[in-house]
Symmetry: C2
Subunit: 352 residues, 2 copies
DNA sequence: CCGTGACATGGTATCGTTACCCTTGTAAAG
DNA sequence: CTTTACAAGGGTAACGATACCATGTCACGG
């Protein structure tokens, strides 16, 4: 850089090479627009409370200076961060990813940003995330499921902000819980399989550790068997992580223990698709020799041969509803019940 | 609440029902621990710069008061937010989700939080996201691909923070670009198919709008044909969104235009799996009648019948490498080249 | 002609933390 | 025993925005 290039600058003016200042504040905008800083703040927060002419001058000054507001300062003063924390077990599962996207699509236009964390299905990790995120003073928190450590609940109670638990309906929400009942859905599918005449039904479920959704699904299955007077046997159950790879392996395990099974209910479409592909590989006729049912209605499920009978869960609706409810709460608008059940749909296709 | 319950409280003390104050500050902690506020700050930021005894007293005071630091204040004063912004086209595609998780797994233990946005494959939306997120004064920004609006680039340049573009290597990074070459990979797959003797190769690609990854893949395919002296014909190409549903439909289109095709290269495993399932439904033998190759090596690909020949992309490694690089930059440690190519692997399986 | 009130705008203090710089105490060196 | 060096800790100001309250202006009715 030549010395001539900086000849007209005072030493203090930390101007960039392109002439714009690297730390333009509201004060600078106000000065250029010939108004007070507070008016700039108002023009940005409540445009209708300043005259069109003032707004125009301010907008011009902002553009000329390349002003970018500093939300850290605003958050500190107003104690409103416009951050919503969302914690999911994993982002890789497209179910959660779609719910998060739906939430984001509603929250962003309203000026809120989602701070996302994933726990890897660990309540202890969830606690650590909540503790760390609360330091950002979020305006609201969204958790997955209703299984949390006592300290997690305590931290959230003390934060005195809206907390919405999602996906799985439970009896005693921290604040509000929005989703559907995994138990009801699983029970419905089990009844359906029994009604269809399957006599020896195996179950491939998810891991139960810190996961009330998989636990409810398994409980719903057992309840369905028991109300039909079918003996329950632990041998009928295999548990595996939700990966395509484990569906096939789990089917192998199940058939070793229960060679006479005529139906399999998998607690996730990821597992169910793995099962279908394994059947294809082994030459097991579906549903002739073995019926297969899933849970989630993933994108691929309807394209399988045979198409998969499954439970459709309102994943986008859950995200949207949660976000709208959160916005209503934060705006002080009245909200309804503390427990919102968005239901499910049993999709009957050819596989079972 | 009974009046007896609050008898010992001063009017100003906004104590909660459980006795803890809803806005405990560092000053309160300092007072209880019998030290200055600055010492509390040091104990939290640089634990090795205070004695073990002081640290213990402070830790006890923090626990007793239920103190939660206020990062907004810290950010304002230190102009370090410990926020990293990451922008992806979509979170539903598990490719991006896994990269984000890998980044998060490295960043979180270092005290950084990921602020995630999704653009829906729109450069204009990306610009809006960047503008909005910069108000949070992130310490770094991670973008997908190298196709951005001029204003996006300008905003990021002015922010004077590390910017890492990811996934697709391009010639002129804003700052640093880490990923692999979609062009090279696509070219390699096309050469492979030609070498295997396929004569009429169709291509099912993604939409090109604001997406340099799909563009490079298509360009690599064309280059592969041309270097082998094969005539390129626009009829050989079908474009569809990356959904399982569209793979099958796209195959139908392609076979209408190109009934003599003996191989299909799909620019994403999601599409390729859709193609395989469609073949299964239509009774098209793979690879006998039609070979199928994909791109991404999704979890399901190896479980298909036949297993899918594809390009394995280092999705977790990309996330990890980006996060490590970002941390190194922010710590002032030296970093290497501005363009980091993590390569790819052609996985030969039975489908092509 | 003046009081009244609605509206637009401004001055000043403040949010909770950390940077900067200083004081104190103690141990090592001479 | 004094000097030097360094570690531990503290006082004060400042980061950039908004809340609170005050002021000025103008239209309108009595």
């Amino acid at each position: 850089m030549t010395s001539a290039g900086s000849r007209s600058r005072t030493p203090q003016a930390n101007a960039d090479a392109d002439g714009t200042n690297s730390s333009v504040t509201m004060r600078d905008v106000a000065r250029l627009a010939g108004v007070g800083t507070i008016t700039v703040s108002r023009a940005l927060q409540h445009p209708d409370r300043v005259t069109a002419e003032t707004r125009r001058k301010i907008d011009e000054a902002i553009a000329a200076l390349g002003y970018v507001p500093n939300l850290a300062a605003g958050t500190l003063r107003s104690s409103k961060s416009r951050i919503i924390v969302a914690i999911v077990p994993t982002m890789s599962n497209s179910i959660f990813a779609e719910t998060l996207q739906a939430m984001s699509d509603v929250l962003r236009p309203a000026g809120f940003h989602l701070l996302i964390g994933h726990t890897g299905y660990s309540a202890a990790e969830e606690e650590a995330l909540v503790a760390a995120f609360l330091a950002r003073r979020p305006d609201g928190v969204i958790l997955t499921g209703y299984t949390h450590t006592p300290r997690t609940v305590e931290l959230l109670r003390r934060a005195r902000i809206p907390v919405i638990e999602m996906w799985n309906i439970g009896p005693d929400p921290i604040d509000t819980i929005i989703g559907m009942s995994s138990y009801d859905a699983s029970l419905a599918m089990t009844r359906y399989l029994i009604r269809k005449g399957y006599r020896r039904i195996g179950y491939i479920g998810g891991l139960l550790q810190d996961n009330d959704r998989t636990a409810q699904r398994e409980a719903g299955f057992r309840a369905g068997l028991e109300e039909a007077g079918r003996p329950f046997d632990p041998l009928m159950i295999v548990r595996a992580p939700f990966e395509f790879e484990s569906g096939g392996t789990a089917l192998g395990d199940l058939l070793n223990r229960m060679p006479d099974a005529d139906a399999v209910f998998a607690a996730s479409d990821i597992l169910a698709v793995g099962v279908l592909l394994e059947c294809l590989g082994r030459g097991i006729a579906v549903p002739g020799r073995l019926a297969v049912a899933g849970f989630d209605d993933a994108g691929i499920s309807s394209r399988m041969t045979p198409p998969l009978t499954t439970i459709r869960v309102p994943r986008r609706a859950i995200g949207r509803t949660i976000a709208e409810r959160m916005l209503a709460r934060l705006a002080g608008r009245p909200t309804g019940e503390r427990i919102v059940d968005l239901g499910f749909e049993l999709i009957e296709r050819a596989s079972a």
